[in-house]
Structures are given as C-alpha cells and as structure tokens.
C-alpha cells in the first residue's frame, strides 16, 4: 500500500495532538518546545561548532543536538522536528543515512516530522485563536500582523506562512508567496518605524504563552507602559505599538503592564550548552 503525503500529514496531526494530551497541553495555546522535551525526558543541547540544523540520537537517554548558529525561531522548529523523530521512533545508522541521502529520493520520515513540528507548535485552534484575539483577518493579514502572530508561537515568519498555506490550508498558495516576498528587515522597519539589524521579538497583550524567549542584543516589543524591575532588558523607546526594550544579559525578567504579564527569558547570543541552562544568570564571581 502506498502512503501519500496526505496520509503522512494526517498521521503527523493526530500524533501531535496526542503528544499535547500526554504532556497536559491544550490545543488552543502555543507551547515551549524545550519545556515539552524536558517533560518527555529528551535532552536538548545547542552546539556552535557543528554546521548543521539538528540531529536526533536514539541513545538510552534520547537526545537532540541543535545548531545555535541558526536563528532562535528556526531552532525551536528544528527542535520540534527532531522531537518528531523521537515520537515516531525513527533512527538509522550513519551508513544507512548516507545511503538514503545518496539515493536522493523523497524521504517520508522527514516529511512526517516536518508536518508534526508544524501541527505541534501551531495547532489549528491555537492559530485561529491567535488571529481572532487580535482581530486580524487571516486572509488579509499584513506582514507585520503575521510577524506578530509568529512571534507569539516562537516560530519564524515564513514558517507560520508555510504552515498556514500548506499545513492548515487557511491561505492560498499565491497569498503565501506574496507574503514571503516581504523580507524581515522591511517588516521590522515598518513595526519600529526605523531600520534595525537586530532580531525583534514581540509579546503583545494577546500573547498566550507566559514566556518570551530572546537573545542578548535582541529588541523586545512589549505593550505600552510595560515595566520591569530587572536590568536584563532595558527600555529603548516608546512607539505607537508599545515599548521597545533591548535584552542586555542572560536571565529571567518579569514584565508587567496593565492586564499583561510575561517572563522574558534571555539567553546569550548563539548560546551553546544544554537547553535547560540557557537562561541561567551569570554568577557574581564570573
């Protein structure tokens, strides 16, 4: 019997929801994939000296190794992808992997876990809710609106667009292609009203996850009049959309505004190490 991509996508969707159930996540909210890996007893380690996206190793303690040289949002999606390999009990020897790659054929396992990662991080209900709560219309959303929603899921702009078009089929393919033509620097410039080379993460008043991940040097856009008693992030300026902060050093910063609270978790830029330590503050004796 031939397995089609539709069958694989269905399998990925079903398993992603089962994994959410197994670890007490609902289908309406974003999740932190590193927290999920921790619950699933899968070790996650970032490395900065191996040029690759990620690897899953079916050791006695299952492990995921991710390149910290990829963007923060890319790392989260790759982690979910590698977790998919764990969930579906994939694993081959290095010789087998090389043989498969040389044959250059469609790899159903890779398709399956890519779809799994999309459904796991961005379930249909959560996506609908993310747009509806902000009064964004999915079919007509601007790049800045898509960027804001992507940030609420901790995924990249094009990753969300790809999922909307090919995973959930909420937008047309040509609409996705049009959106992808607007590049990230232009979107950041439109949001901040000035160009920046820094990565920008956003948590608005509808941010459903209690945390927001950033790296030192990133800009963090939070609701207007947002305040923190931490010096891990420092205010840069107020704009119409809210207050812009810059992440200055690793650690956890609690931020509040009227009817809003979030923990901004800052890690070193391109942090290499175990995921569980990425937000540890430096000690006084460093």
């Amino acid at each position: 019997m031939t397995t089609t991509t539709t069958d694989l996508a269905r399998e990925a969707l079903e398993r992603s929801l089962e994994v959410r159930d197994e670890h007490d996540y609902d289908y309406r909210s974003p999740l932190c994939v590193y927290e999920l890996c921790d619950k699933a007893r899968v070790s996650v380690r970032f490395v900065d000296d191996v040029s690759m996206e990620g690897v899953y190793a079916a050791l006695s303690k299952p492990s995921i190794i991710l390149s910290s040289l990829r963007p923060l949002t890319r790392r989260a999606f790759t982690c979910a992808h590698e977790l998919g390999h764990h969930v579906f009990k994939h694993g081959s020897t290095i010789d087998e992997l090389k043989d498969e790659a040389e044959r250059g054929m469609f790899n159903p396992e890779e398709f399956l876990v890519d779809a799994f990662a999309g459904y796991l991080l961005m379930p249909a209900q959560a996506v609908k809710r993310a747009f509806a709560s902000r009064k964004f219309r999915m079919e007509e959303a601007t790049p800045e609106e898509i960027y804001t929603v992507a940030s609420s899921f901790g995924v990249g702009y094009e990753t969300l667009i790809g999922h909307l078009a090919y995973g959930l089929r909420y937008i047309q393919r040509d609409r996705a292609e049009t959106l992808c033509r607007t590049k990230l620097p232009k979107i950041r410039e439109r949001i901040l009203s000035e160009p920046t080379k820094e990565h920008l993460v956003i948590a608005d008043r509808h941010h459903a996850l209690g945390t927001l991940d950033a790296e030192v040097g990133n800009l963090v856009l939070l609701p207007e009049r947002a305040e923190t008693d931490s010096d891990l992030i420092e205010p840069v300026k107020d704009i119409g959309r809210g207050r812009v902060f810059r992440a200055t050093r690793p650690g956890l910063a609690r931020v509040e505004a009227e009817g809003f609270a979030v923990i901004v978790r800052v890690s070193r830029m391109q942090y290499a190490g175990l995921a569980k330590y990425r937000h540890l503050e430096e000690t006084d004796s460093e």
């Binding site: 690759m52 190793a57 303690k61 190794i65 694993g91 790659a101 790899n107 290499a272 190490g273 430096e282």
Partner: protein, 116 residues
C-alpha cells in the same frame, strides 16, 4: 607523572570540556555543587581531586556519563557502529570535521547505545 596524577589530569580536562558543552561557567557549577568558584577552577586544573559523589553530581549537571568523565570508553563514537541510531537529514552534507565533532559530543552522553 604517576598513574594517579595522570588520571586526575584526564578527569580535569573532561570536567572542563563537559562544563563548556553544558554551557555553564565555573561560577554556575560551583553554585550548583555548593562550592566556591576556586574549587571548580582547581578541579579543572587537576590541582584538586574530585570525589565519587562530586563526579556523580557533575555527570548529572553536565548530562554526560560518569565513565566519560573518568576518561573511560572511547573519546569519539565509531560512525559504523550499528548501535548508534540517528535521524539527521543533512548528514551527508556534514564536513568530516563536523561529523567527528558530533561523534565526540555523542560519546560524552550517558550510556551510549540503543534505546531500551
């Protein structure tokens, strides 16, 4: 150099390497162990012995095997070892140095082998 000194040097270098791979500073490790930072510095320079209890704690903190910290077992896994089961879409694109580095990292992890 005596066998004991040699062993201490191996442990010192493995502790240093494992700490870096875990993304921790000496100060952070000291805090986790309930020690002062100079104690960790001394461990990593081979000037202080590491007790069995500390080794077990360090292995847990760094997510590596105690055997690897002791310098036992291979430094790098054999790429042709059938027990090593991976999923990696870009493996054939990895440069030899990158693959070697990956195999070294995997060797440090606890209880290498197949999933039960």
């Amino acid at each position: 150099m005596s066998a004991q000194e040699s062993k201490r040097e191996i442990i010192a270098s493995r502790v240093r390497e494992a700490r870096r791979m875990a993304g921790l500073s000496q100060g952070q490790v000291a805090k986790m162990l309930g020690l002062q930072r100079p104690s960790v510095t001394e461990m990593e320079s081979g000037n202080r012995s590491v007790s069995a209890e500390e080794l077990a704690k360090l292995a847990d903190i760094f997510d590596v095997s105690v055997a690897w910290l002791l310098g036992e077992g291979v430094r790098q896994l054999d790429p042709h070892d059938d027990r090593l089961q991976l999923a990696a879409r870009e493996l054939q694109k990895l440069k030899p140095d990158d693959l070697n580095r990956l195999l070294t990292i995997l060797a440090s992890m606890r209880d290498q082998g197949q999933q039960p």
